[in-house]
Amino acid sequence: MSLDALLEGDIAGPMASPGTVILRGEGLSKAFGGNQAVDQVSFDLRAGEVHAFVGENGAGKSTLAKLIAGVLNSDEGTLEVDGSPVHFPGPHDAQAAGIAMVHQELSVVSSLSVAENVLFGVEPSRWGWMHRQKMSATARKYLDVVGLHVPPNLSTARLSTAQRQLLEIAHVLALNARIIILDEPTSSLATSDAHHLRELIGALREAGRTVVLVSHDFDEVLDVADRVTCLRDGQWVCTEPAETLDHDKLIRLVTGRDVLVAPREARVHTGEAPVLEVRELTGPGLVHADLVLHPGEILGIGGLVGSGRTELMRILAGDVRPTAGSMMLFGESFAPSAPSAALKRGVSLVPESRKEQGLILHATVLQNIELAALDSLGSGPFFRAGAARMLAAEYVEKLRIKVSSVHAPVNSLSGGNQQKVVLAKVLATQPRVLLLDEPTKGIDVGAKAEILTLMRGLAAQGISVVMVSSVLQELLDSCDRIVVMRGGRTVGDLENVDISEEDLARLAFAG
């Protein structure tokens, strides 16, 4: 089933000829409390274009997108569709006008099946009666298009983060909207899936749809976007045709400065006694994994969606118990019964999903940062609030978390800054082995460079880092050594010298 055929169906709202302005925002503003998230922004969207929103974490990209999609209502400004002013009290109304959005914070319903999620709201039905036989078949079409090959009747709870991301894209396709907003759709996708998504976006453009793409991946932006709008501190900076931009220009537009990542010094650690040695590890989602980690080493783990990387990290962090195999930490056997035991031994994890496993969303930045380091804050069972405040302030400063005060609730932060809070929490435990599962997910170029620099600094102090990333280039940029996983096994172990993205991809697919 090709995408073109799929897109032939009736779409919500009238179809405009390519190039005409179909949506215009005029002087849009939105504030949260005293925080002006979007400030007098004007822009327009044209039929059949891919329009990218770029900007630093907290620049207001998601907020702007939500204003378009009816999730938020603007304080000031107007929105016009096809030349007439509109007001969307809720997402439902925007959908009715042909606008659909994939959110940055994933929002699949895990108690429904894959097919039910894909076709949510557009179930094949008549007078409220669902046509259940049709559902699987219809859903499978959309799943095939986005490259998610799972049975439509599978429970969504069993999907990995990346699979959920694809599922949401399938859902938004099924809504058959003419304006499709994708807020960081590739942040948790493996490189191959991200590439596939680019093709998909291209096909949507060909079909006359408008795509709004929010992304921190400038290669992606330059590859697919027709126009790019840059936001900074909630304000509109510019809207430029993509042809006039390049990678460096984009970085300067977004950050207002040149971001320099010092070239990686090739370091080889193999001579030293290993910090962590994993042998023949087996567990849920894991068939056979071997791993050696040296002091001060940055070890990357690459692989496809569902290759078992997250499961390996969870076992190392004591969150899941292995069924077989051995682990040695600093020469002693290591079999943590719970994350608390691993933390005591100096092993800390930045989990893959910050919303579900990383953060207490309604709690403050302070309450999140202090949590893992509680044992060191105050004597005996008593807690020293002063020490906790200092600790939190220190890490807010160190990681340059953009937040008004440590007492602000985490859910008022932008996605990237939330990720930094998770990192701060873990670093505050002063780990000897730092496990990072997709640590740069949703983080802007500047912050990515900061985190990279930070990792190097930690490694220089002798801390060992294991980093899982689906962006192969990122592994090549930052790691001393890269292990590739496939089907729950470690299938390759390469010194990061003279290897290319293709080498890694080949291993990841089929040795």
Binding site: G90, P91, H92
Partner: protein, 341 residues
């Protein structure tokens, strides 16, 4: 498109068959766990409880269970959206009393009068449900505390209506609703079957069912996907209230009287049936078949203990233990089920 083809071979897709099987079997396993517990109980009772395995007694149990089960259909939808309804006991008393009040002055009770009485009870229940829905959906009060308030308020209102006196209904067509038979089957059992069928259609065959599961599973996701959550909450509480009103009507028909002071704590029986039936109190997960077996399990448990002349205090202790055991065993069976595959 080599990528797509290649990723056909990824672990996720290679487990397609086993996964599908797992889902299927885990779904059945849940009912199986409950059904197993139920069958075990029936076997034990068949041996040790005198007169248990008689047609008379079994129909009896079904009839007694039916009122709880009807209210439990509504409660299932409420719990599926991660709500709770504590006002059920008061609503059963209130709606039954209203229906009885309508009938009590009449000398002759015909079919029309009965239908009007049923309608009154159902509407009264739906009215309480609407009130609950408004407090929860519009005012944003947590369901537990909102329905705790209506529990108190509606009870006060029911007592006020009749100065706490039970209201007798002249014997006639109305009590047939609670005690009559069609063929071998008691009328309340048939009405229960009808309500379960409606609930099944609603939850599994209609679009609104998907929305109920979605709101319970992830409210903000559902909202972002365009579900009008407030409306849905209103709908669910009204539906649940209507079920409760119907239960109240059957209860008053069975007792030939409205009992404004009765059914205190009835909601706990109803909730227990739903939860023992496997519906998650966190919302989004559960099925009506489970609710039915849950209600039946609790009903059979009590019936057998009564037949065996177990002292009421021990009955209470044993009921507590069996509920915990049922849920634990059921959990283990389900976990096994999903691991084994």
């Amino acid at each position: 498109m080599t990528m797509t083809e290649k990723s056909e071979l990824s672990p996720a897709s290679s487990t397609r068959r086993t996964r599908g099987a797992a889902r299927l079997s885990s779904m059945n396993l849940h009912d199986f766990g409950l059904l197993g517990a139920l069958l075990l109980l029936v076997c034990v009772y068949a041996i040790i409880a005198p007169n248990f395995l008689t047609e008379f007694n079994l129909l009896n149990v079904l009839r007694q269970v039916s009122i709880v089960a009807i209210a439990a259909v509504g409660m299932t939808t409420v719990i599926l959206i991660a709500g709770i309804d504590l006002s059920v006991g008061s609503t059963v008393a209130f709606s039954g009393t209203l229906a009885a009040l309508f009938l009590t002055e009449r000398t002759e009770i015909g079919v029309i009068a009965v239908l009007i009485a049923v309608t009154i009870a159902v509407l009264a229940g739906a009215g309480v449900g609407l009130l609950n829905g408004l407090i929860i959906g519009l005012l944003g009060v947590p369901a537990f505390i909102a329905t705790l308030a209506t529990l108190t308020g509606v009870r006060g209102f029911a007592l006020l209506l009749t100065e706490a006196k039970p209201v007798s209904v002249p014997v006639g067509d109305y009590s047939w609703l609670g005690t009559g038979h069609i063929g071998p089957l008691p009328v309340p059992v048939l009405i229960m079957a009808l309500v379960f069928f409606i609930g099944y259609v609603l939850l599994s065959r209609m679009k609104i069912g998907r929305r109920i599961y979605a709101v319970g599973g992830n409210e903000s996701a559902a909202r972002l996907s365009g579900v009008r959550v407030t409306r849905l909450i209103l709908f669910v509480y009204i539906f649940a209230g209507a079920c409760t009103g119907l239960a109240g009507c059957l209860a008053s028909a069975r007792l030939s009287s409205g009992q404004p002071a009765g059914f205190i704590g009835f909601e706990l029986d109803v909730i227990a049936a739903v939860v023992v039936g496997g519906t998650s109190l966190m919302g989004g997960r559960g099925r009506l078949s489970g609710t039915f077996f849950g209600a039946l399990l609790i009903g059979v448990l009590g019936n057998g203990l009564t037949l065996m002349d177990v002292q009421t205090y021990w009955k209470q202790i044993l009921t507590g233990i069996v509920i915990v055991v049922a849920i634990v065993v059921d959990g283990i069976i389900r976990r096994r089920g999903s691991q084994a595959s």
